[in-house]
Symmetry: C2
Subunit: 708 residues, 2 copies
């Protein structure tokens, strides 16, 4: 279900997440959800009144229950609704009459169960809109506003609830508990956690918008099963980027690949998941691959904000850890530059003689003798002019130490050095184990920063943080404006436009295309060939003929008039034998050498026009070596995309080919994208295959357009 | 350092790890190591006497110290040596005289510091060998024998020490503490943990051998910085495979790629790390990429043993988790087959109406109402004939529950269903958080099985377990025997053998090679060409000329006598201009079509002869698409290797080429490997490039051999 199309007003969202009084409607001792919600509100600091409503029971959860909302007899800000499915709308009706504006509906049995449920859900939406109510759910567990200690949430919240800078939005009920447990284990504080349910009215986008405005939130973490309204999502993501708040997302469903177009090769390259990848990337959304990385990465970004660059200095008490880090750094595209001479000299003064002074730095097991060694080394390394950030490997205590005060002093001193450091310091532990109560105490009392859990996940998170920071500079933070240049389009935009018409459209609109002449007779073909000079190519032309090479309709390397005459005759005969009309050939000069690209634009049903750029031949057919971009995309964006092709070296002149003029290539590809974007909603796909690149000569050799 | 070459006797290893009495030599209150070792022995159940030896202090760690080993006055099984570097050998001398056979040397300052240290270390080795002592270290923290509760180990061991089936061997001191903490957090019990130090005498291989024999150990986990003696390692790994004990290894240093040969293209494909990958794979060693996966995977394999196949049924209380699992399953090559009709029918009986009955199975949030739902569904799914194992998503409690007995009953019932299940059941939690004290209690008291930490790492571990189980069937568990067929070798085996000589060697030894004729004159070239039929290829021949195409020495597609004559003249003139001798050309029929492979054998300094098979052209030059195998490898092994090429589809007839006869290709490639293996230690590299494959026709078109 996903019927809402309008944004919820900011004030309404704020009211939803900060009620001063709450009624639990349908509260009962028989329900685990009711018990949990009540307990959660009681134990996490909600200061307002909690009213229990049950028409059939006097006492619920050991407290007097009201028979109805009306029966409460005082103003209520929010109703948390757990009544049976058919009773939900009546509750909303009663509440609306009493002036209750905010609702969380836990009750299931709506759109997720079938048409009857969907009808009920639409009734609720219509009623809510009409009466300006705000409804979260149905079929969701509610939310945890940890900043305020307001927790109308239907599953147990394991203590302690830690408030902090990460706002979490989930399209999964059951996994919210895991996220909560994991965030606690990492001592990552949450601002708000919302379990969305069916998103009948309040959508993920609305909550993102709220979190962008929420001063307590520095990072937004999403668990997404689907991006239900891509345009709204894109708008909210751009807003977050403008506010400098990273969005980290675990988007599931990568195994369900789907293709959306039949006539174009491009279809196979544009799986749903690849489009999501491209979209996230362009919007500066950090995509992670596990629940752990979702929270760990969000926690790191909340600590560091943007990281200036990929050059990391590493300070550890272990040689083994150094090598593990070096391996992972390479995979994440992080650099571990050598220390400056001055840094090396200063380190030699403080480290034992047997230490090897290099990056990553192992200060040696001598830390057992001198506990300050690590943080003194950190101080020196953070001064190095050639690094963007420092990674410090250190673990918080897991068990209460023999001398707690000594431990606190030690961590306080290190925390001070970290604060004083000239570069951002990222603290990571060796392995991913919980931060226990004593660890939390150390962080609380000494201001010791976030500790990323384990080298493995830390490197993933640092890599993501560096890429996000770089993307922040590259991302268009505003929705791209329509260029508004009307294209030149000749003929009726329906069905399939094969090479001849498609090429003319390209030519008319500034995309370079190999010259060609349409020949109806052998004489015309020979005349055209002579004009171009030999060798030439002949291609079959007929009404609606898309895949001409499948029927032998492409004749290459014709070296003289006789060859042209014969080829034309054969091709036309074949076409006529198949009962085709509009039969003829297209004569073109034969090109040789160069690198072939495929440039295809298809309309993704969710995200809109999407462009794939691939290297031709085996690269695309066997390796699926392609990059995707949502349109519009500018020349600089295409330039970066070309660099991401696995076979990019081929364009740079590997194997003896002439290096391509990448600026020129990007310009032509961008022009194709721009043209596709200007062709209106009837365009289904536009494919240039191949686009031949020979140095700075770039031209389309064939093209195909489908209109819906 | 790595001077030992002989295996330590089994009895000696057993004595090292199970002493009845221990002397701590160099014990002092001033050393953290001394304090930790003493505390460890005191608190983890060591029952024998612990003697403290310090020549200068009467009381150490609150106990009376002895002035020397001699001063102890009773039999000592093992000395744990912490004295200054120069005092180590005197301690061994004194101990040897007293009949002490086992030593752990914590003291550093040996080979790791330079030549003087290396000399001292060699003295110790020589003395130990001469006197039949067993020395672990130096520069290592000792070991933890958790089975026996014997813990002569120099760093703190956080309580509780959990004994169990995983034997850990580490080439890193500092990371041992992390491994220990992480294993404890996963409730993975250890049999033995050994911190190797410099491996002067006792090597990783010796400890592997011990663990293979140790009845308490079911899985061996290794942290390796380098494989110091590959042949010994291979022998020990094969022994472990024969015993059915998986070896899981985190081998670091993947970022330090190195190539070993100059003349052959193959060099670039054979980085140190790629060879390790190939070797581990062939030996059935499971390679993991993080400290977490090392312990998690070892713990899983200890629980399951071999897993029959990749078909996994999944039972969860969460739809979100199902999709996360599906995404990761695809990446790990695991299958999630649809349930059998019977299974679906039975599940429909027990699940709520709104549940969707499919694999992966979400039994729905109704588990909040009916706690038995998950394990009843498990029971049904485990009967499905189409699955090899069942993954059950469930978390242990993290905090003491309100009603502990009820919780214990619930987990006991589930544990019973897991034991009764017809298929192995793998239990996994959603996220990687610690198993806390109450979780350990549940496992201890109910026999609840190992819980893999988090979906992310669980899928990695299950994927590894399935691959290991399959490899167990494919791996040669015995060292391959020398085939003993002496090759036919004509000429002196030195320097570079270019195409003519290399091809003759191949032909002489049963590798099909394109026919060719050596031509000294233009007439001879024309005569040879006429005999083959046109078109032909001419290739430059001269003494020591390796890269003939670089100087235009390969002429393709010569269509008649004049072309041949001209080409021969030009090529020879070029060669003579360069002052080369033995000038001429090699005439060959021109082949067309087909797929080109590169088959290269190089001698890796550590692992010996290694074969790379790659697809030619851009595949190898740009994509580095190649597979590696250590020699010897049989035809079936080559057949599997071909299937691992990213471009494997090309051999199956993608892009309209004739599908290759893969058995024939494997036979020829295996023959090349066998020949290389028979050529003796002077062979440095043998490269066939290309090996042309056209259907069932397979022939070498060019070859190069280097001898050292």
């Amino acid at each position: 279900m996903s019927t809402a199309t309008t944004r919820i007003r900011t004030g309404a969202m704020q009211a939803l997440f900060a009620p001063r009084s709450i009624a639990l409607v349908g509260a009962t001792d028989k329900s685990g959800w009711s018990l949990s919600t009540f307990e959660n509100l009681r134990t996490n600091g909600f200061r307002g009144p909690v009213h229990l409503v049950n028409p059939r029971t006097e006492v619920v959860h050991g407290r007097r229950a009201h028979r109805s909302l009306t029966d409460i007899g005082e103003a209520v800000d929010m109703a948390y609704v757990m009544v049976p499915t058919p009773a939900v709308l009546p509750v909303l009706r009663e509440g609306a009459g009493l002036g209750i504006r905010s609702y969380v509906v836990l009750t299931a049995g709506f759109g997720e169960t079938g048409p009857e449920g969907r009808r009920l859900e639409e009734e609720i939406l219509a009623f809510a809109r009409e009466n300006q109510l705000t409804v979260l759910g149905p079929n969701g567990n509610g939310y945890i506003n940890a900043t305020e200690g307001t927790t109308p949430y239907g599953l147990p919240i394991p203590p302690p609830l830690i408030s902090g800078p990460v706002g979490v939005v989930l399209q999964s009920g059951a996994l919210a508990s895991s996220i909560l447990a994991f965030a606690q284990a990492r001592n990552v504080g949450l601002s708000l956690l919302t379990s969305m349910g069916n998103e009948t009215m309040v959508s993920v986008t609305d909550v993102i918008d709220y979190l962008v405005d929420d001063p307590a939130t520095r990072v937004i973490a999403l668990f997404l099963e689907s991006v239900r309204r891509p345009e709204e999502f894109a708008r909210a993501a751009r807003r977050a980027a403008r506010a400098g708040k990273p969005i980290v997302a675990l988007k599931i469903g990568s195994s369900a690949l789907a293709s959306h177009t039949a006539q174009a090769h491009t279809g196979a390259l544009v799986g749903d998941d690849a489009v999501v990848d491209a979209a996230f990337r362009q919007l500066g959304v950090v995509r992670v691959r596990s629940l752990e990385d979702l929270i760990i990465t969000a926690g790191l970004l909340a600590q560091t904000g943007p990281v200036r660059g990929p050059r990391i200095a590493v300070v550890t008490p272990s040689g083994g850890a150094c090598e593990v880090i070096a391996d992972r750094a390479e995979q994440e595209g992080l650099e571990l530059p050598p220390f400056a001479t001055e840094t090396v000299a200063r380190l030699k003064e403080i480290l034992p003689d047997f230490a090897t002074v290099q990056n990553p730095l192992d200060v040696t097991g001598y830390v057992v003798v001198d506990r300050t060694l690590l943080s003194r080394a950190l101080e020196v390394v953070a001064d190095d002019p050639g690094v963007d950030a420092v990674m410090l490997l250190t673990d918080l205590p897991r068990l209460p130490p023999a001398d707690l005060n000594l431990t606190l002093q030690h961590f306080a001193a290190t925390a001070q050095r970290i604060r004083d450091a000239r570069r951002p310091v990222i603290v990571a532990g060796n392995v991913l184990t919980d931060i226990t109560e004593v660890g939390r105490q150390v962080q609380r009392e000494t201001g010791f920063p976030y500790v990323v859990g384990g080298i493995e996940h830390a490197m993933t998170a640092i890599g993501a943080a560096v890429r996000w920071s770089r993307a922040l500079g590259e991302t268009d933070r505003t929705a791209p404006a329509d260029k508004g240049v009307p294209p030149v389009v000749r003929g009726e935009t329906t069905g399939l436009w094969t090479e001849h018409r498609a090429s003319r459209l390209l030519t008319d609109n500034g995309v370079p295309v190999v010259p060609s002449t349409l020949a109806a007779t052998e004489d015309e073909a020979v005349e055209a060939a002579a004009a171009f000079g030999y060798p030439v190519v002949l291609k079959a032309v007929a009404e609606g003929l898309g895949h001409k090479s499948d029927i032998g309709g492409v004749r290459l390397g014709l070296n003289g008039p006789e060859a042209v005459r014969e080829a034309h005759g054969e091709v036309c005969a074949t076409l006529r034998d198949r009962g085709l009309t509009g039969v003829g050939t297209l004569v073109q000069p034969q090109r040789s050498g160069g690198v072939e690209l495929l440039v295809g634009v298809v309309r993704d049903p969710a995200w809109g026009l999407t462009m794939a750029v691939a290297l031709g031949g085996i690269w695309v057919e066997v390796l699926r070596d392609s990059v995707l971009r949502l349109l519009p995309v500018d020349t600089a964006g295409i330039r970066r995309a070309l660099g991401e092709l696995r076979g990019a070296r081929l364009l740079q002149g590997a194997r003896g080919t002439e290096p391509a003029d990448l600026d020129k290539v990007a310009e032509v590809v961008a022009r194709i994208g721009q043209l596709a974007g200007s062709l209106g909603p009837r365009l289904e796909s536009l494919e240039v295959n191949p686009l031949l690149v020979r140095g700075s000569e770039v031209e389309a050799l064939d093209a195909l357009i489908t209109w819906n």
